[in-house]
C-alpha cells in the first residue's frame, strides 16, 4: 500500500525527516508516536502532497506508484486521506456543500457517475447517524465555530464519506472526550478492511485500546527509531522518549 524509502525532507532549509523508512501493507493499521516537533505532521503533509516541503532524497510509493510531483487533489482521488491535526475553517461554505463537492470531484476523477442531490442526502443521513453527528453540523460552514472535538469528528465524517484506501489520522484523538473518542474509534474500526490501510498519529496509548494497531513506530530525530507491537505504546507511556535522545546523541 505505502512504501517510504530513505525519505529526506527539509522545511525552510532545516532538515526535518532524515532518511525515514516505513512500509504499510494493505489492511494494516500502523501507529506513529513521537515527541512534539519530531516531524509526524510533516510526514503526513508530505504524503498528502502539500507545497512548501523540499524532498531532498528518497521516495514515496503508493499502490505501486511514485507520488513525487503529484498534485494533492490527484493523491486524494487515488485514495489518500488526511485527517488534519488542525482542521481548517472555510467561512460561508456549508459542510454538506463542501463534502458533496469533494466526493463528486473524486468520482469525476475516477470516471464514476456523480451522486445527485437525493443520493447524496441519503448517504449522508446514514453516515451522520453512524457517527452520531447532528444535522446542524452539516448545515454550518466548514469547521467555523466548531468546538475542538466537533472538528475532529467532522474529519472522521469526511473520511467515512470519501472512503479512502489510505487514511492518515493526525492526532485525531487530541481534544476528544471519552464518548467522542469511542465514536471516532468505532468509525475507524468500521472502515477497517483488507484493502484499506491506516496511519494513526497519536500521543496517547489510550486510543490504541480502541484501535488496535498492527505496528507501533517511534519517530524521533527524523527517523523511525523503533518499531514494535501494541505493547510499545504502553512502554512509551511509562518511560517517555528520553532513550531516543540518548540514541541520537
Amino acid at each position: 500500500m505505502l512504501e517510504i524509502k530513505n525519505l529526506h525532507v527539509s522545511v525552510e532549509g532545516s532538515e526535518i525527516l532524515k532518511g525515514l523508512d516505513l512500509t504499510v501493507d494493505p489492511g494494516e493499521i500502523h501507529a506513529i508516536m513521537g515527541p512534539n516537533g519530531s516531524g509526524k505532521s510533516t510526514l503526513s503533509h508530505v504524503i498528502a502532497g502539500r507545497d512548501g516541503y523540499e524532498i531532498t532524497g528518497g521516495r514515496i510509493i503508493f499502490q505501486g506508484e511514485a507520488l513525487t510531483g503529484m498534485e494533492p487533489e490527484e493523491r486524494a482521488a487515488k485514495g489518500i486521506f488526511l485527517a488534519f491535526q488542525y482542521p481548517v475553517e472555510i467561512p460561508g461554505v456549508a459542510n454538506t456543500t463542501f463534502l458533496k463537492e469533494a466526493l463528486n470531484s473524486i468520482r469525476r476523477y475516477r470516471g464514476e457517475d456523480e451522486l445527485d442531490a437525493m443520493q447524496f442526502v441519503k448517504m449522508m443521513r446514514k453516515k451522520t447517524e453512524e457517527l452520531n453527528i447532528s444535522d446542524d453540523m452539516l448545515k454550518r460552514a466548514v469547521n467555523v465555530g466548531f468546538s475542538g472535538g466537533e472538528k475532529k469528528r467532522n474529519e472522521i465524517l469526511q473520511m467515512a464519506v470519501l472512503n479512502p484506501s489510505l487514511a492518515i489520522l493526525d492526532e485525531t484523538d487530541s481534544g476528544l472526550d471519552i464518548d467522542a473518542l469511542k465514536i471516532v474509534a468505532e468509525g475507524v474500526n468500521k472502515l477497517r478492511s483488507p484493502d484499506r490501510s491506516m496511519l494513526v498519529i497519536t500521543h496517547y496509548q489510550r486510543l490504541l485500546d480502541y484501535i488496535i494497531p498492527d505496528k507501533v513506530h517511534v519517530l524521533a530525530h527524523g527517523k523511525i527509531q523503533r518499531t514494535g507491537g501494541k505493547e510499545l505504546a504502553l512502554e512509551l507511556e511509562e518511560k517517555g522518549y528520553a532513550e531516543f535522545d540518548e540514541a541520537a546523541a
Binding site: 498528502a48 507545497d51 512548501g52 498534485e71 482521488a77 481548517v88 472555510i90 469533494a102
Partner: protein
C-alpha cells in the same frame, strides 16, 4: 447555498472557454455616422420619433456635457476617451423600427440570445421571468408583455413607453439623475438609445421577475441605455439586468443611467449580473462600464435594494445609490466585485438619509486577483432632519495573490446627532491552509478557489433571485480562472 455544488461542476466544464460570451453576431447594422455632435443627437431623437420636449432635453444635456471636465477622482487609470471615434447609434437592420413580434425577428438574433442562455421564445423561457432584450442600441424583444398587462404592469422599451405613457416618462425621467449629474450621465442623457421602462401600478405585486439583457455587438459602438422604474404606492417589483459583449481589442464605452422611484410603501429590488468583456490577460480591450444608478425612496416606508455582481468590464465605475427621502424608508446595497488580471473597479454606493427613521445597509465583498485593483468608495450622509436614521456598513476584501490591490474609502457625513453610523471592514486572503485542505479532499485548485470565494460572497449571493443565483456563482468561478497555481 446548496447550488454551489452543481455550479462548481459546471465551472469545471466551462474551464476551456474563458469568456464564452465573446462571439460576434454577423448581422447587418444601421449605424449613425461616426462621432458626436448636435446633429447626431437630433438623428437619434428622430430615429426614435421622439416628442419635442425630449429632443430639447437631450440637446440641453449635450451642450452641458461639452462644458464638463472628465471625472478624475476615482482610482482608475485609462487613456483619454476619443468621443469622436465611436458610433452612437447602431441597430440590427431588421429591427431598426423597434421590436415587432418574435416571428419577425432575424433568426440570427434569436440564435444569439439562445447562445447567451436567454431564449426569447416564450415557451422555452425561464418560467416567471420576463425579458427585454437590448441589442446594441435597440430593443429586439420583450417577452410576456401581455401577461404583465393583465395586472397593469408596463414593461417595455423606453422608446415604446414614450408612445404608450408619455406623461409618466415625462413626469419621472431625469428626476433622480438630472442631466447635469456627472459627465457620463450627461452624455447618456444626450445620446441614450434604449433601455427599459417599468411601471407598477398601486397595490400590485409584479407577478414575475423582470429582466433586461443588454448585449453590445457592433464594433466601435457605445451602449447608452437608460432604465426607468417606477413603483407606485404599495407595489413591489424585482428586476434583473444582465450584460455581455464580444471580445474586441479596442475598448468600448458603456455609459448607462438607471433611475428608480419608489412611492409610499413600495419596494424595488434591483439586481445586476454584470459580465461585460473584461479585456484579455494583458488588459487589451474590454468595456468601460461607467454607470450612474440611483434610486429615490420618495414615499414613506418605501424600500430600494440594490444587489450587484460585477465580474466583467475592463474598468467599472459605478455607485448605485439611494436617496432616502420618505420617513422610515430603507436603502440596501449588496455588492460583489471581482477583478482579475488587469481589471480595475471603483465601485460602492451612496446612502443619503433625508427622512426620519430611515435606515440603510451596505454589504460589500470585493475580490481582487492577478494584477487587478479595486476600490470600495461609499458615502453615508445623515441630513439634519434624519432623526433616528441608521446605517450599517460592512466591507470585506479578499485578495488572491500578492500583485493585486483592494482599497476601502468610506465617507461619513453626519449632521444629525441622533443618527447612528456603523462601519466594519476586513481584508483577508485565501490561505494556503484552506487551499490545501480543500485539495486534500480531492477538489481541484480552481474549484477550491471558487468555493472559498463563493463562501466569502454568500451573504450577497443569497440576495439574488433564485433563477440568477446559480448563474452568478458560476460567473464567480469563471472570472477567477487562472488566478492561482
Amino acid at each position: 447555498m446548496a447550488a454551489t455544488t452543481e455550479t462548481l461542476a459546471q465551472v469545471q466544464e466551462m474551464a476551456d472557454d474563458k469568456y464564452k460570451y465573446g462571439f460576434v453576431t454577423d448581422i447587418d447594422s444601421e449605424n449613425a455616422p461616426k462621432g458626436l455632435s448636435e446633429d447626431i443627437v437630433r438623428f437619434i431623437s428622430a430615429k426614435k420619433n421622439e416628442p419635442e420636449w425630449l429632443l430639447e432635453w437631450r440637446l440641453k444635456a449635450y451642450r452641458h456635457w461639452l462644458t464638463m471636465p472628465e471625472p478624475n477622482w476615482a482610482k482608475v487609470g485609462f487613456p483619454a476617451i476619443d468621443y469622436q471615434d465611436s458610433y452612437y447609434y447602431s441597430a440590427p437592420k431588421a429591427v431598426g423600427d423597434g421590436p415587432q413580434s418574435l416571428d419577425e425577428i432575424d433568426p440570427e438574433l434569436l440564435a444569439t440570445y439562445e447562445k447567451l442562455g436567454i431564449p426569447l421564445k416564450e415557451q422555452e423561457m425561464l418560467a416567471g421571468v420576463a425579458v427585454d432584450a437590448v441589442f446594441d442600441s435597440v430593443s429586439v424583444a420583450t417577452t410576456f408583455k401581455s401577461k404583465l398587462e393583465e395586472v397593469g404592469v408596463i414593461f417595455c422599451p423606453l422608446t415604446e413607453a414614450l408612445e404608450k405613457c408619455p406623461d409618466l416618462v415625462k413626469k419621472y425621467l431625469g428626476t433622480v439623475v438630472p442631466y447635469t449629474d456627472n459627465k457620463h450621465a450627461t452624455l447618456n442623457s444626450a445620446v441614450f438609445t434604449e433601455g427599459s421602462f417599468v411601471y407598477i401600478p398601486p397595490g400590485v405585486r409584479c407577478p414575475m421577475e423582470l429582466s433586461t439583457y443588454f448585449r453590445i455587438n457592433a464594433k466601435n459602438t457605445g451602449q447608452f441605455e437608460r432604465t426607468l422604474i417606477i413603483a407606485d404606492k404599495e407595489s413591489y417589483v424585482s428586476y434583473l439586468e444582465g450584460c455581455t459583449a464580444p471580445m474586441r481589442d479596442e475598448n468600448q464605452l458603456h455609459a448607462a443611467v438607471v433611475e428608480l422611484i419608489a412611492l409610499d410603501d413600495a419596494e424595488i429590488k434591483y439586481s445586476t449580473v454584470q459580465n461585460w468583456y473584461p479585456g484579455d490577460e494583458n488588459g487589451k480591450g474590454g468595456i468601460y462600464n461607467f454607470v450612474t444608478k440611483r434610486g429615490a425612496c420618495r414615499g414613506r416606508n418605501s424600500k430600494i435594494s440594490w444587489t450587484q455582481v460585477e465580474t466583467g468590464s475592463a474598468i467599472t465605475w459605478k455607485y448605485p445609490s439611494c436617496i432616502l427621502q420618505g420617513d422610515n424608508s430603507v436603502g440596501e446595497f449588496y455588492s460583489i466585485a471581482i477583478t482579475n488580471n488587469r481589471q480595475q473597479a471603483d465601485t460602492g454606493t451612496k446612502m443619503i438619509h433625508l427622512g426620519r427613521n430611515t435606515s440603510s445597509k451596505i454589504i460589500s465583498k470585493g475580490i481582487s486577483a492577478g494584477h487587478a485593483d479595486q476600490t470600495y468608495r461609499g458615502l453615508v450622509k445623515m441630513s439634519p432632519k434624519a432623526d433616528g436614521a441608521r446605517n450599517f456598513t460592512q466591507c470585506d476584501s479578499l485578495l488572491i495573490g500578492d500583485q493585486c490591490g483592494a482599497h476601502t474609502v468610506p465617507y461619513i457625513e453626519s449632521k444629525n446627532k441622533s443618527a447612528i453610523v456603523e462601519h466594519e471592514a476586513t481584508t483577508s486572503t485565501i490561505s494556503e491552509d484552506q487551499l490545501f485542505y480543500l485539495r486534500q479532499r480531492g477538489i481541484p485548485v480552481e474549484a477550491a478557489v471558487a468555493l472559498v470565494v463563493n463562501g466569502f460572497c454568500r451573504e450577497v449571493l443569497q440576495q439574488l433571485p433564485m433563477e440568477f443565483a446559480v448563474e452568478a456563482q458560476k460567473l464567480v468561478g469563471i472570472s477567477l480562472e487562472g488566478s492561482v497555481g
